[in-house]
Symmetry: none
Subunit: 128 residues, 4 copies
DNA sequence: GTGGTCTAGACCACG
DNA sequence: GTGGTCTAGACCACC
């Protein structure tokens, strides 16, 4: 579990943690059925409040990524969320691409960066 | 000027407005030297408070996109911010791509969507 | 915390407060990691609106002097901004020196005053 | 007359102009009895509004630097303002020095910079 | 006319 | 508890 929180990040702590878990799932580092650290454990590791972890886990549960089994810890759910509607995915992508354009990149540079980034995301999950 | 604010959006109003202006600049709809509506005017159009617009404009000024001249109006800066370092651009891109992967898309689908989105962004600025 | 606001001062209140905090940091009275009063507390102490303090704190955060943690408090940043380029520092110095010359002082008087002023700035931080 | 206005400067235009004239007087470039350009002329040269120049000249007149002779133009006054009280001079000096300290300079560096700056100010007036 | 600042008071989000 | 956002409305400074 390589999760970190960054005080300079503008996102709230619980969001950073939830996003971090999602990234681990996306990369394949966390697979279906694998157990997550307990709320107490992770809170201790990251040096944050118990509540903060609980909020992150609850959000992930509501989104269907985790299953909390009473008294038996938290595991990555076997049934992944169904194919998400494209409309919801476009907004953050468009926003990210806009920043690249404003940063002075042309389309071919951006597409190359996207390919590079996708490779990096997948690579992490394979190295295990 | 096609700016809108969305109450369901999690971002604060002033951020939505600032992002909207940036998008207009990225698309070429707003070009160097063009005047923006006055804070009062835009506040009236969008149905938000005058101060909210002022905050958005000030942020854009600090980021180098606008020149706010006290007593005169607000115009798009002629000299755009220099090429932004890649590191700052990667985080939001990576985050957006992660969501696409979790949404069940494979890499080729994602790259196609990126190309589509880039075309859409540029298209807007050309229709004038 | 010896911060005051002066109605006769031409600078806006939030700027006076931000400058005051900077002066306390420069003198060493406020050191890395020290907590600042909450916006509500300081607003009450100075008799200004809560928002005015928030604006001052946000500006100081953007300049790298403070770390504002939502839900927790505000502390002096551990890593100070790196060495600032001389060009930005010269303008206000030149302006101040010009006034001394117009006020009828010769160079040796001015240099003596500068030494005196520097000593005063540092002195404050040591008396603790 | 080497006066310029800078749109990036935070000071209002009339203040930049007034400060510029003061700097020319301090350096000796403008001496007692010398005529200043007319309001119209200077407004045209700088590309600013007539009123803006008028405000700057009026401020300089109130401070005793200029004498406006009805229908006969504006000249640098022969009787310079008396020795200004030190208290008024200290505030901007202290503010400028604080910035140098925060910028990472130690006292000897600052004193050296002050000597350099004083020399530069005087030098300008001699080269004519 | 323009933008800038400030207030009082409300409500929300975070830890 | 903390800070963040927003409003309504006031007054000021600039051009």
């Amino acid at each position: 579990m390589f999760l970190t929180v960054d005080a300079d990040d503008k996102r709230p702590l619980y969001q950073q943690i939830a996003d971090g878990v999602k990234a681990l799932i996306a990369s394949g580092e966390l697979r279906e059925g694998m157990a997550l650290p307990s709320v107490r454990q992770l809170a201790g590791d990251l040096g944050v409040n118990l509540n903060t972890i609980a909020v992150a886990y609850r959000q992930l549960q509501e989104e269907g990524f985790l299953r909390v089994r009473h008294g038996a810890g938290t595991v990555v759910t076997s049934e992944r969320p169904t194919r998400i509607e494209e409309e919801a995915l476009r907004k953050p992508l468009r926003s990210a691409l806009t920043q690249w354009i404003l940063g002075g990149r042309d389309d071919s540079e951006i597409v190359a960066a996207v390919r590079r980034e996708l490779a990096l995301i997948h690579q992490k999950g394979e190295s295990r």
